[in-house]
Each structure stands twice: as structure tokens, then as C-alpha cells.
Symmetry: C2
Subunit: 153 residues, 2 copies
């Protein structure tokens, strides 16, 4: 599993830099997140992890995710379901950066990656402009479109 090693190495460095340790629950969560293009909730992550590591509790999943979010490794989303969902910021699966179409009715989420060059460039410019104007260090961005999906119209 070349990819797993890549992830491990990358995150291992993050951890070292921040002074945190690479523990079993963290490895498990990061590997799970790196294997999906979905946005798992805490509960979903917990159940999956539990299959392989029955001793890891829900609390640890919460705490680990909080840390990963604070390190800018993971982004925490709220799509209005009353629970949070999580996603790797730098996804290693070639999925890369993507955004969301969110159905207001059934809460289904479509990932889209088709931001053309012009758009990417424009977002970069906007980021630079806002950053300077508001003296704000921008780490990540989110573009979401809300509406009704095919089935709910």
C-alpha cells in the first residue's frame, strides 16, 4: 500500500511539527478518511474503526478529529443534519480539492471537482485580495451550492 505510506509519512511530519504523537486511533482515522471520497460522520467513523480496533471509543474519535481539524489536516463540515462530517483537506487519492452541491431536501451531497483553470485562478486572486484587505491568513476555502437534487425536484 504505497498510498498508506505516503499518508503516514505526511501526517507523521505534521505530528512531529506540532509535538503530537502518531497513535493507533489517529492512524486508523486518517487511513479511513484517505480511503473514501465521502464525508463520514463521527458515528460512521467510529463504527468502521470499531471493526478493526474494538477498543477505540467514540470519545477518542471526537477528540482525534478535533485535533486533526485544529492542525488543518481535516475539515469539519456541517450540512445541516445536526451532526458534523469530516474530510481530509489534502486528499491523497488524486481526488484533490473539491466542493459540494447540497440538497436542501434530502441532504444528499454531490462532490464536484470541475473547477476550470479560470475559476481556480480567480479564487486564488480573491484569496490574496481578501487576505491583504482584512489581514487574515487564509488556510482553506469552501464553495457550496444549495438547492434540490434530481430526485427531490
Amino acid at each position: 500500500m504505497k498510498k498508506n505510506n505516503e499518508i503516514t509519512n505526511k501526517l507523521f511530519q505534521n505530528f512531529k511539527e506540532k509535538g503530537y504523537r502518531l497513535t493507533t486511533p489517529r492512524k486508523a482515522i486518517l487511513l479511513l478518511l484517505s480511503k473514501t471520497d465521502d464525508h463520514p460522520s463521527v458515528e460512521e467513523l467510529y463504527f468502521d474503526i470499531h471493526k478493526n480496533y474494538p477498543s477505540i471509543g467514540m470519545t477518542t474519535v471526537y477528540r482525534t478529529l478535533d485535533l486533526l481539524v485544529s492542525w488543518n489536516v481535516v475539515h469539519k463540515f456541517d450540512f445541516g443534519e445536526g451532526r458534523s462530517r469530516y474530510e481530509l483537506i489534502d486528499h491523497p487519492n488524486g481526488l484533490g480539492h473539491h466542493h459540494h452541491l447540497i440538497c436542501c431536501n434530502c441532504k444528499s451531497i454531490i462532490n464536484y471537482t470541475d473547477l476550470i483553470d479560470k475559476e481556480v485562478e480567480l479564487i486564488a486572486k480573491l484569496e490574496k485580495r481578501l487576505s491583504k484587505r482584512y489581514d487574515f491568513e487564509i488556510n482553506s476555502h469552501v464553495i457550496e451550492f444549495y438547492g434540490l437534487c434530481k430526485n427531490c425536484r
Copy 2:
């Protein structure tokens, strides 16, 4: 108060179309939301409303907001504080459409309105493209930048 009448008229139509009634709590919430460029939480709305209408309870605020959200009159945000925040989608105060810079540390929010023409145009194109591609009816969009504000860097 011309503006209040405009809002009332506009929403009154929405209500009629949807078959819902224009009640005191709804008027109160809509007027409050139309008077601020902030993103009040349920609790904040409740306290404000309570000053003028002591009989309106928190439950009603929740329920009313849910309805307004489902009618696409109000957008529900979650900035990661563990509570939701609300904002009129078509703000009548000339504030117009805006987006957010969100500080990951102190959770402060900066509104920015300076999307230049090129950007607006581009978002419109993107919307059209996505809409067609995914057979998705887009009603609103959100562009958020996450990072560290002036004070938290």
C-alpha cells in the same frame, strides 16, 4: 418604515404560495433578521424577540426558522460553534449578497461583499454548468474562507 412593508409584502406572498400563515412570531423574526447584517443564533433571536413579545417561546423560534429555511427565505449556517446561525437570503437592507471569512481559532466572522463583476459572472456560469451537469436546481451558494484573523495569528 417602507422597508418593513417591502419585506412583509414579499414574505406574505411566499407564505400564501406555500399555504402558511403570517403570524406574529414570523413577522418578528423576519424583521429582526432584516435589521441586522449579523448572523444571529436561535438564542440571540429569542432574547431579542422576547423584549417585544414576551410570550414567544424558544420552540417557536426554532420551528419558525426551520420553516423559513425550508422555504429558502433564510439560510442556516454552522460556523463550527456547536450552534446554528441564521441569515436572510435576500437581504433587503442593500447589504445584498455576501460571504464569510471565518477564524478557526476565535470563530469570529468577517462579512465581505467585494466580489467583483468577473467573479459574480464566473459563479453564475459555474452554477449554470453544475446545474445542467448534475440535474440539480441551485437556489443559493456559499463561499467561505477559513483561517486565522488578525488577532489570532
